[in-house]
């Protein structure tokens, strides 16, 4: 996948839209600028108009120069929020998100957000100030070796100590962030490099042409073999991951599925890449995927993995994963091939390009027998589904998700936190469009939702943005409510409040003999908390109140918070215990059992 942006075009746009007359003088190359000016001028050239940050001593020269450039700076309340906002911005827009922090604690506070972006392959550029180059390595005030700290959680990072290296390094950082398998890049800039001056020429600072990973390989024989496997498969399943959206292969995956009548199972990050309403959509696979999805995977004779990496939450116990299936893996990162699951055909390249090459070899195919088998396997499960339960006065999170989805619709962007509510959202909010679900998958970073939603709102100001968070995760980054107010953002917040760290409680219920150690959680009255910020809100206790409350939030002129007081000890079903095989799932309790019933998929 080549770099997506057209920096030259962006540069011209940015030049044309600068606010103050004369501001553009800095951008007309070649000019002699300070490092701080070069920083912003390069960002403008790369198409950046919004950054998320927090000032501090070592980055103050950059902040001083900011007023001369057409960039909106969003002041966060904690640098973790800045990194998550940049991440949410990138996920919602497909562009590179930018976070800024000072040296030392500012930089270390970014780390969770950087790791989140790393695990989910999100293109962000984090810029940190550092102490002057003369005192690097002396434990100067607020000095931290942030390139050392972030080395394992960045795609790459740079330390810039010379003003003349700044523009080229920044442009290189953007190239790395968005090329190939995207990821976070950190650029650490010493204070003297910001204060010094150098000749700035955006064009001259252009990085060398992007070199794709040398082990990308899509061979004629592999394509032919893949086509042959698809032609002969009786029980094929497409596994669609995050790569479908990253490479923009939605149409191609759909064409493959429709032409060969192959059902599509999605990873958590893949949700939205294939419409939930499509008859071939099976739903989410893995630990909290529906039984028929995982059952279909276990019974399949061919898996076509598209832009996914066989994560442990998806495969369960590897030694028992899809043993009957041949496997085709289409993936842009050669290091993912045969990492967890041994595959028969590896097509290592950009998903869209590979599918474009593969599709002409795929003929129409009758898949009805297999599709009928899967349909039949849904059986009674759908009936037992909680969303079909009559209203008995209890408020279930599943109800909230279901009703939210019906009202907010498939255009809304939903940003979830991590835990039970995240899984309920994935199960009951049916995403029809790409980039409408933003969630921390690989890292599972609690506290992600609120700041990531702020980033998403800046990326898509015209879309409805919903935060869905648990009472635990919300409190981790609740300080960003002030950011919402300061930036006058209309963001809807739904807290799924069950008084527990719910997923912890669930694991303790299932696997630790209901020893609810450190799971009960006292929270503030979230409606009052919102009120303290000037954000209106409402508590919701019954199902009948859900729809009116959601409508009220949507009608509100600004942000609105809904505190859903849901059943305290509800669990996410079905569930595959960690380390178990896909067919060893804990199913929804039936009428006979009060305790979770261990059933086999064949039941």
């Amino acid at each position: 996948m080549a770099s997506k942006g057209n920096p030259k075009g962006h540069a011209h746009e940015a030049n044309g839209s600068a606010a103050a007359p004369g501001a553009n003088a800095h951008l007309h190359p070649p000019a002699r600028l300070t490092g701080a000016e070069i920083l912003w001028a390069t960002l403008v050239g790369e198409g950046v108009d919004t950054v998320f940050g927090y000032p501090g001593g070592a980055i103050l020269p950059a902040y001083d120069a900011l007023r001369k450039f057409p960039i909106r700076h969003v002041l966060v309340r904690h640098e973790q929020g800045a990194a998550h906002m940049a991440d949410g911005y990138a996920r919602a827009s497909g562009k590179v998100g930018v976070a800024i922090a000072t040296s030392g604690p500012g930089a270390t506070n970014l780390v969770t957000g950087i790791a989140t972006a790393m695990l989910d392959s999100i293109p962000i550029v984090c810029i940190t100030g550092n102490v002057p180059s003369k005192v690097l390595g002396t434990d100067a005030f607020q000095e931290v070796d942030i390139t050392g700290v972030t080395l394992p959680v960045t795609k790459h990072n740079f330390l810039v100590s010379k003003t003349e290296d700044l523009a080229q390094t920044l442009r290189h950082a953007f190239q790395i962030a968005r090329s190939g398998r995207p990821g976070p890049v950190l650029v650490d800039i010493t204070k003297d490099a910001q204060q010094g001056s150098a000749v700035f020429d955006f064009e001259v600072a252009k990085p060398r042409p992007y070199r794709p990973h040398p082990m990308l390989r899509v061979e004629e024989s592999g394509l032919a073999q893949a086509a042959e496997l698809i032609r002969n498969a009786k029980r094929p399943v497409i596994l669609a991951g995050h790569g479908v959206m990253e490479s923009g292969a939605m149409e191609q995956v759909r064409a493959l599925a429709e032409r060969a009548q192959i059902p599509v199972a999605l990873t958590l990050l893949g949700l939205g890449g294939f419409p939930a309403s499509h008859p071939l959509n099976l739903g989410m696979m893995g630990m909290h995927g529906e039984a028929w999805v995982n059952h279909a995977i276990q019974e399949a004779d061919l898996l076509i993995a598209c832009g996914m990496r066989f994560d442990d939450r998806v495969t369960g116990k590897l030694s028992e994963y899809a043993l009957k299936a041949r496997k085709i893996h289409i993936e842009i990162d050669p290091a993912e091939i045969n990492k967890n699951v041994k595959v028969d055909v590896a097509l290592v390249g950009d998903l869209r390009e590979v599918l474009e090459e593969l599709l002409p070899r795929i003929a129409g195919r009758d898949g009805s027998a297999w599709l009928k088998t899967i349909e039949a396997s849904k059986g009674a499960v759908a009936v037992r589904d909680i969303k079909n339960l009559p209203d008995l006065g209890h408020l279930y999170a599943a109800h909230v998700m279901h009703d939210l989805w019906r009202i907010a619709g498939s255009d809304a962007i939903v940003v979830t936190d991590v835990g039970q509510h995240q899984m309920w959202e994935a199960q009951y909010f049916h995403h029809g469009k790409p980039r409408t679900l933003i969630t921390s998958g690989g890292l599972g970073a609690m506290g992600f939702a609120l700041p990531a939603a702020i980033g998403a709102k800046f990326a898509c100001p015209d879309k409805d943005v919903w935060v869905i968070a648990g009472d635990g995760g919300f409190q981790m980054t609740a300080a960003e409510l002030s950011t919402i107010v300061q930036e006058k953002l209309k963001i809807h917040i739904a807290i799924i409040n069950n008084g527990y760290l719910g997923m912890i409680r669930q694991w303790q219920e299932f696997f630790y003999e209901r020893n609810y150690e450190a799971a009960p959680l006292v929270s503030p009255d979230f409606v009052k908390l919102a009120d303290a910020h000037g954000i209106p809100g409402r508590a919701v206790r019954t199902r009948a109140e859900v729809a009116p409350a959601v409508e009220e939030a949507r009608r509100a002129p600004g942000a609105f918070l809904l505190n859903f007081l849901v059943e305290k000890e509800e669990s996410v079903y079905p569930m595959i215990p960690a380390g178990s095989a896909l067919h060893e799932m804990i199913r929804r309790p039936g009428k006979r059992a009060k305790d979770p019933l261990e059933e086999r998929a064949e039941d």
Binding site: L151, P214, P334, N338, K339
Partner: protein, 187 residues
């Protein structure tokens, strides 16, 4: 099995950390790592030997390529290659018992590069097994070895030779080539 990777990396601060960090992350111990300038300006060449499963080679090479500063990676595996290691060995030796060492050095085709009244230093280049052979013999005399400094393996693929050429290139070299290949097969 033992894997040998040869890589060209940018000659910049921190690059070695990135390479080493990759192996640390994969929980793979590095047996040896040699780095030096190469024929390509601005690029260092390294030879890295590590113990990992047979299938790990592909992933390690792919992961090395993902490092921004890594320009080229070769997994030598079992390809015909010349591998050498340099060792400096300081042994206790007085004028009275030097002669025995001189003989040993002769047999192993090593060199004496420093000589004092209490010690001498042996320089030896060769495949790992040959260096270990010399060390073993020297150890037979307890307390004789004072210091050992080994460079770790350096490996270079052979050119495209037919086997008759390999034979014609001389017994010593051919012998070492055989050893190299045997080592590769063993591991």
């Amino acid at each position: 099995m033992l894997h040998t990777f040869v890589a060209y990396v940018e000659d910049l601060p921190g690059v070695l950390t990135r390479v080493a960090s990759l192996f640390r992350r994969l929980n793979i111990n590095i047996h040896s790592l040699t780095v030096g300038r190469s024929e390509r300006p601005g690029l260092s060449r390294l030879t890295l030997v590590c113990e990992a499963s047979g299938e790990a080679g592909h992933r390690i090479r792919a992961s090395l390529f993902k490092l921004e500063n890594v320009v080229d990676v070769d997994d030598i595996a079992q390809a015909p290659a010349v591998t050498r290691e340099l060792a400096l060995i300081k042994v206790a030796a007085t004028p009275r018992n030097r002669a025995q060492i001189f003989d040993l050095v002769e047999v192993f085709r090593a060199r004496i590069v420093d000589l004092t009244s209490e010690s001498l230093m042996i320089e030896m280049t060769g495949v790992e097994s040959k260096i270990e052979g010399l060390i073993e013999v020297l150890r037979e005399d307890e307390g004789r070895i004072l210091e050992i400094c080994r460079s770790g393996k350096m490996t270079m693929r052979r050119g495209h030779h037919v086997s008759s050429v390999l034979r014609a290139m001389g017994a010593g070299d051919a012998e070492e080539a055989r050893e190299t290949q045997e080592n590769a097969v063993e591991s």
